[in-house]
Symmetry: C2
Subunit: 333 residues, 2 copies
Amino acid sequence: MEEKSQTTCEKYAADIFSIREAQVRIKSFVHRTPVLSSETLNSIAGRKLLFKCECFQKGGAFKFRGACNAIFSLDDGLAARGVVTHSSGNHAAALSLAAKLRGIPAYIVIPKNAPKCKVENVKRYGGNVIWSEANMQSREETAAKVVKETGAVLVHPYNDGRIISGQGTMALELLEQAPQIDTIIVPISGGGLISGVALAAKSINPAIRVLAAEPIGANDAAQSKTAGRIINLAETNTIADGLRAFLGDLTWPIVRDFVDDVITVDDKEIVEAMRLCYEILKVAVEPSGAIGLAAVLSDNFRRNPTWKDCSHIGIVLSGGNVDLGVLWDSFNK
Amino acid sequence: MEEKSQTTCEKYAADIFSIREAQVRIKSFVHRTPVLSSETLNSIAGRKLLFKCECFQKGGAFKFRGACNAIFSLDDGLAARGVVTHSSGNHAAALSLAAKLRGIPAYIVIPKNAPKCKVENVKRYGGNVIWSEANMQSREETAAKVVKETGAVLVHPYNDGRIISGQGTMALELLEQAPQIDTIIVPISGGGLISGVALAAKSINPAIRVLAAEPIGANDAAQSKTAGRIINLAETNTIADGLRAFLGDLTWPIVRDFVDDVITVDDKEIVEAMRLCYEILKVAVEPSGAIGLAAVLSDNFRRNPTWKDCSHIGIVLSGGNVDLGVLWDSFNK
């Protein structure tokens, strides 16, 4: 953050202080997820890879960090009304679980095309499922209706300082566990995770490189970085169902200023990374969660001389919520 | 171990001292594997379950501990000749990898019906594959021939004090990571792992219960415990290909004296446990490796009043070497 941090700390939705506060707030609720490594994958990549396994986080994804921080930040009066969100899945499960821990209701607007296992997760954690159409307008309208009827607090999946701060705790933990890391590769969708990671990691070590991994069929972040403004896409096309969202007005400035580059990969590369996670690391990870490994192994990354010195790469694996049938089908295409 | 330990320490092939020596010897080579937990699985089991994820060990299974201890115990002259073993897979991969680390050859006798991914692991780690027929006699004869021709040291998969001591280091680690454990459930096949675990755990805490988990279709350990002598079976029938071996003369006395009970489960229970590992824990584990969870969830365990007070159960998950096709097929039977 160097020079920038001196003048601009307050203009972002989160900072190292809100992230450290979040860490204290959520510590007793979240898993300290392990960091795995594999000599086989190191050989394939030609670098040391350190896998932060957020797929083992409660709810099966890093999303629980932000959800917990948001819910336990609420004062008692607000909290009692409950929370509401629209989400493609992992945030929904996470919010349901965090709400359950606080003993308040969670209203979850889910598009009709969401993967079955994600819907089941929401139900398992006690969330109240409210269906919407499979487009963002219907999701937002349905959520607004719930807010109006119940007074529940809307907790956006990513465009929210409390969420960004919560997700950033993952980077604090990772750099405690593996301080030798010089690069972190993070899946990007709405930008909540990578915003928190970039703010946390660059505050601890300004030389650290923070790279986004994005599907070529939903490359709004790559396009936004090139254009210097938020680009929304008319449609997306990727197997990585968790990475179809677009940057928000709170995540975009952080991504713009602190994410060093966006590495795009195609679905074939994502599926191959899933397979390696499964066969070599023994970790079940969904397409969205395996994209960090896909990026490290991609030609786009390997052949870029800017990244040739990245020798110790932290890769966020998250989440783990994949229908086994989907996994199998994608391996056999 | 109490009274027994005072009179009989020297009659077993390993003890707490050889296990602690092994821990020092192999420390820089092995992964300290994480312990995972899941509230969902705790609810299903009605107990706290602590999963020791040896499927994340190098080579994909706990076997690397014993193999490392055996290989790094050899003096230089002996080591230079190499090592040989016959194995259904995970020990073979582990021995290949440990031999590679020491820079010596590993000759691996593998039965023709071994799972493909296990054979690939051996090759990946530089082992020299020598095929045998799919019966123990052919495996042993082929291995003996290699010993004669090369002078290599035979490292048995389980009936060896160095192997037992190495596997026992898993229990030392687990009880450091989760000292609240009152029960450990361990897959049993030839008995190398459970022998090391029982010796280590009961030396640290004599009140700890050590239970074996065994497929009903290969229940030689259960039969042996009942008969009071080693029982070999004419044939075995189970999906858990890593659990088809029989107790040896070095593992049997330890199993006889220190394993509190053998819980048998059927293949359907094993497959269901694999599914839960995959869907809830997000861990890829082979049938042999999931059997500990199957045992905890089985009626045989739940309805036995002897075990009703087992409240914090350590479950060894190992190994992770499963062909994805096999996994999928077994889920759809």
